[in-house]
């Protein structure tokens, strides 16, 4: 049996090299892998392409990554007015941004996860997000072509992992985490609790172990802001 459990947060992110494409889970303060983000800050990986719904808050979530200047490019749907470190770096042209509608962000990650090459959607037609994208009419509807978003790593947060890597999530802390787990080449999860194999009922597994490559238990750091 492959042992996926890492003893420390630092070992779990230990091989993430400069220039990596990384998905970061979480939405609205819930389900962010804050402890893994802090480990990545300690490691000092640079030139990251970050794929995340938000760009963090002053002190929380991805904020630290921008404060440290570790991120070069962002793919996000709502960077957020409180993402001050991101906004500063963007204004100073030290970070570039691709804005993506939230559902299309999910869908492009899922396309990567599912081995699809591209898809057509009506979302964004006639708006700024259609710029540079192929447009055509299908079944009478104007639609644009959207490409998969792949990543080298997903850093996610779950409530419980069993020792094989099956995951469950608490309440709305689920959000982007299961999608990113499926989409990235290597998925690293911080969890509140690791339980023995068999402790999660097979019908209750949300992210099957096949999508999880590294597990680390972390005391949750939470940011309400």
């Amino acid at each position: 049996m492959r042992n996926k459990i890492h003893p420390t947060l630092d070992s779990a992110v230990g091989d993430i090299r400069d220039g990596a494409r990384i998905m970061f889970g979480g939405f609205g303060g819930a389900g962010f892998p804050n402890n893994l983000i802090q480990a990545l800050a300690r490691k000092g990986t640079k030139d990251i392409t970050a794929i995340s719904n938000n760009c963090g808050t002053r002190d929380g979530e991805l904020g630290l990554m921008f404060k440290n200047g570790q991120i070069r490019h962002v793919i996000a749907s709502f960077p957020g007015p409180h993402s001050n470190y991101f906004q500063e770096k963007l204004a100073a042209k030290k970070v570039t941004l691709e804005l993506v509608p939230q559902g299309i962000l999910c869908e492009r990650m899922r396309a990567a996860a599912a081995g699809l090459c591209a898809f057509y959607t009506t979302v964004g037609v006639g708006t700024e997000v259609a710029a540079g994208k192929e447009e055509r009419t299908i079944e009478g509807k104007r639609c644009i072509l959207e490409m998969p978003i792949h990543a080298d790593y997903a850093l996610i947060k779950a409530e419980t992992a069993d020792e094989l890597g099956n995951l469950t999530y608490r309440l709305a802390a689920r959000n982007f985490n299961p999608i990113m787990a499926m989409a990235a080449t290597t998925t690293i999860v911080e969890v509140d609790e690791i339980v023995p194999v068999g402790a999660i009922k097979p019908e209750h597994v949300v992210t099957p172990a096949i999508f999880v490559h590294r597990i680390v238990q972390a005391k949750g750091v939470r940011y309400a802001g």
Partner: protein, 224 residues
């Protein structure tokens, strides 16, 4: 010369709440729409969807009751009603984009006579801006209601022939609830359905950047 009275934000929300049919699955956007849940008629039960993966959202959490793993799309701690469910964000947007929501209510900066919506970015505003879930919801809801003031603070019409603000979606708005009127967007144009107390269509037209039509004299907005 003081203006005639307009609806408050709460009254706009109240009037919009009356558009929700019993049993509907509903997504409420930022701003005025977020006030709607407080004004549901007693005999109407609707199920609130949040694009972060909740169906069956209840009222906001009271002080001391907050659980920051249970927040709505505005990051505000909420509660659940019995029969709620959680799912991931892709399934949440499958619901919004795939025509599963009966009604979505969004805020708006501008709405065109064709029902184009601009609600995510003010030209020239500082910062990155952010789209969030609005484009998916605008594209996919069975019925899209926009709640907004009828004019900008400077008095310019927000209902226009052609949006000049960055667009959220084309021909997506079905109904407008403003502080002055309830207006349906139809293939033939903007149909005035109800008008605020003390106003007439001529006065309203002056504050509206696209032609309003009316089937007879539009009744006053009333609140259940």
């Amino acid at each position: 010369m003081p203006d005639k009275p307009r609806l408050t934000r709460e009254q706009i929300a109240h009037r919009a709440a009356m558009e929700l049919p019993d049993g509907a699955y509903v997504n409420l956007g930022w701003g005025i729409p977020n006030l709607i849940a407080d004004y549901l008629p007693k005999n109407v039960e609707v199920y609130f969807h949040s694009e972060n993966g909740i169906l069956g959202m209840g009222r906001r959490a009271r002080p001391g009751e907050e659980d920051y793993d249970l927040v709505d799309a505005m990051k505000v701690p909420v509660t659940l009603i019995p029969g709620a469910s959680f799912f991931h964000q892709a399934d949440a947007h499958l619901m919004s984009r795939g025509g599963h929501l009966d009604v979505a209510v969004l805020g708006g900066f501008q709405v065109s006579e064709k029902g184009d919506l601009a609600n995510w970015k003010i030209p020239g505003a500082k910062g990155s801006g952010g789209i969030g879930g609005a484009m998916d919801i605008a594209a996919g809801a069975k019925k899209l209601i926009v709640c907004m003031e009828h004019t900008t603070r400077e008095g310019s019409p927000k209902i226009v022939r052609q949006c000049t603000y960055p667009l959220t979606g084309l021909a997506c708005v079905d109904t407008l609830v403003t502080d002055l009127a309830v207006i349906d967007v139809k293939p033939e144009g903007l149909i005035l359905r109800e008008i605020a107390s003390g106003w007439d269509i001529e006065g309203l037209q002056k504050l509206t950047g696209a032609p309003l039509m009316s089937l007879g004299r539009a009744p006053e907005i009333k609140f259940l």
